[in-house]
């Protein structure tokens, strides 16, 4: 059973970067597929607008990291590790975390690694980063999570782009962070980009349109078996929360906030109902940002809980999706620093390889 309890690591701050460009699903996105009804889509999924632009994930994370380091009063030389969680990296290789080490001006003694996870990625990234730190030699780390610039321009009306940063410190006085993590690879194709990896290498055929679930898509685009993912989310999330509570003898009803991956409103409402959680303790940002993959949990906290995180708070968060993969975490914060949202425009000046 994948339960983890990590001691001596505290979440001290979060920030998020999003494209400045707003796409409104009612005004700018209404010809998606033949039976697509924009109004019904917005009503049922709860996604009115999204931030989408020609901006890679790292370009959303880097300015958010700069802002958070400034707000925390951290020096570049303080940072011992960066983990970058994304399924939209800058290049197939090298790891984007290595490029970010240089862009942020961090020490060459910095541990840097990419983790290829999606909607469960923030919880997985947090489990990896905190586990790495609990020995006490890595004192400060940045966990970056998100997905920007996907392989087709719009990628449907559900997804928005965001890059987030979570700042972690080694602190022997804090309470432990508790995790439950799970995987079901039998549904690996429930959310998939079929081509471009080693299994089906990119070829001219990768860009030929084919029908999938009533829409014409090519093989470099994300395709999702919506009903399977929906059924997975509404059943696995409540179970994972209950398993975590049982394993660590917690009353999950006693948390201050429940932040779930922002999949879609229909799914999230169902999860909330099944766990009998009060709506006011379950913040959401999908109305303005859509489903932002591994960024959705920190983005929700950064945009919805600014005023409410000054005192001590207990959070329960669950990320779930592509893999299929899920992770639930419970942690406490005190004086959590939440940076103001960073809006990013496309950088046309920097010359990249």
């Amino acid at each position: 059973m994948a339960f983890l309890e990590v001691k001596n690591v505290r979440i001290v701050g979060m920030s998020a970067g999003v494209p400045k460009r707003v796409i409104n699903n009612l005004e700018q996105f209404n010809n998606y597929s033949k039976d697509y009804d924009a109004k019904a889509f917005v009503e049922q999924t709860g996604v009115l607008e999204r931030r989408v632009d020609n901006i890679p994930t790292s370009d959303l994370c880097v300015p958010a990291a700069v802002k958070l380091m400034k707000d925390l009063g951290w020096e570049k030389s303080d940072i011992d590790a960066i983990l970058f969680v994304s399924q939209n990296t800058d290049y197939i290789l090298p790891a984007t975390a290595c490029i970010i080490q240089e862009r942020l001006g961090l020490s060459k003694e910095c541990y840097a690694m990419d983790i290829a996870m999606g909607c469960s990625g923030w919880v997985y990234g947090l489990s990896a980063a905190t586990s790495l730190m609990q020995g006490g030699t890595i004192k400060k780390a940045l966990l970056m999570c998100g997905d920007g610039k996907r392989r087709s321009e719009y990628d449907g009306p559900l997804f928005g782009f965001a890059g987030t940063v979570t700042a972690l410190v080694y602190d022997e006085s804090c309470s432990s962070i508790k995790f439950h993590l799970g995987t079901d690879g039998s549904s690996y194709d429930a959310i998939i980009i079929p081509d471009g990896g080693a299994r089906n290498q990119v070829s001219p055929k990768s860009f030929e349109l084919e029908e999938f679930d009533g829409k014409m898509v090519h093989r470099m685009e994300t395709r999702m078996k919506g009903m399977d993912v929906f059924a997975f989310g509404i059943s696995v999330v409540p179970k994972s929360v209950k398993q975590l509570a049982e394993r660590f003898q917690l009353d999950y009803h006693a948390c201050d906030y429940y932040v779930f991956h922002q999949a879609n409103m229909k799914m999230n409402n169902m999860i909330m109902k099944k766990l009998k959680l009060p709506e006011e303790k379950v913040p959401s940002c999908m109305y303005h940002f859509g489903n932002t993959s591994s960024a959705s949990i920190p983005l929700t906290i950064v945009t919805q809980l600014v005023e409410s995180c000054k005192d001590r708070k207990t959070f329960l968060c669950c990320g779930f999706g592509v893999g299929l993969s899920w992770g639930t975490v419970v942690f406490d914060t005190k004086d959590l620093v939440l940076s103001e949202l960073v809006e990013v425009e496309e950088d046309k000046n920097t010359k990249w390889v």
């Binding site: 019904a40 929906f230 109902k273």
Partner: protein, 76 residues
Amino acid sequence: MEIKDFIQHFAEQFDETDINEFTPETVFHDLEEYSSLVALSIIAMINEEYDVTLKGDDMSAAVTIEDLFNIVKSKM
């Protein structure tokens, strides 16, 4: 589990379709109001009422409401 109750729960997922349209023999994919979003409501209803998790393939395999009822029953 009674088919009568199942049909009633099924019908509650639709807003505009006349209640008399829902019978065991109804080919629900042909109902004008049926869409992928309605399908999600049906999956949610079945999960809540019967504690059964259906997949997209189960929804496609069922032609009539009774077919779906039988699939749910077989998974209980």
